[in-house]
Amino acid sequence: MKFGILVNEGPYQHQAADTAFNFTKAALDKGHEIVRVFFYHDGVNNGTRLTTPPQDDRNIVNQWSELAKEHELDLVVCVAAAQRRGIVDEDEAKRHGKNADNIAEGFRISGLGQLIEMGIKADRLMAFGD
């Protein structure tokens, strides 16, 4: 079965970011397909490589990056939401005259259409948020 995953909150502040990850991992373990993971609202903050959580805690960003590598997941950060919150890749940095970017490995920035497309392609859309 094909799942689409929507993540609406950032890392650590709300458990939603953890639940989304745990659900995705469990779905993959059961042999389901993940069409895409779409990060919206504060969820875009899961896509920064600049976090350094305490060593005795989980690293939410790295967990996604590693899972994406292992399973070729498509991790998409919404461009409009990312602009409001300061999540930027090299192209976006250039386009807006920023002298740094912060996108994490395995994430890409794209439009809201990717969320709709995910809803069309997936058999089930799972939303995780506050």
Partner: protein, 136 residues
């Protein structure tokens, strides 16, 4: 609308301005309109406040996005279901809501109201008909 169209329902349960969900949720609906799916919106709980007339954010320095709801008809988003019980709990009636309309292309482009007041049972039935439900 193509044969393979899915039914999308956007459920709005939050007040505007206190959080961004209403505004960014509306952005999804507008983008989604380009995908030729069967779209409707539901306004439940504090979500009914999104449609309140006369919003003016000049003094609070936020962006007033309420005019965008008027554009929904042009994007062929024409079914805005508002739960009656949620309005009543908040001391509101249809008169408190913005007048939102669309031109019905199947009926000589007559202007028709987009807002439809439904009771909880009707909303339950509508939810059961959807393929995808997005909740803000």
């Amino acid at each position: 609308m193509g044969n393979g169209a899915k039914k999308f329902m956007y459920v709005n349960r939050r007040a505007p301005y206190g959080t961004i969900y209403a505004l960014e949720g509306l952005e999804v609906v507008l983008i989604g309109a380009a995908f030729d799916q069967d779209v409707c919106m539901a306004f439940v709980d504090d979500g009914v406040y999104q449609l309140q007339k006369g919003q003016d954010t000049a003094e609070s320095n936020m962006k007033n996005f309420s005019p965008t709801y008027r554009a929904l008809g042009d994007y062929e988003v024409t079914k805005l279901y508002v739960e009656k019980e949620s309005l009543e709990q908040r001391g509101m009636s249809e008169d408190d809501l913005m007048e939102l309309t669309y031109e019905d292309e199947d009926d000589d482009y007559q202007e028709k109201p987009s807002i439809r007041i439904v009771n909880r049972g009707e909303l339950t039935d509508l939810m059961e008909q959807q393929d995808v439900i997005l909740n803000y």
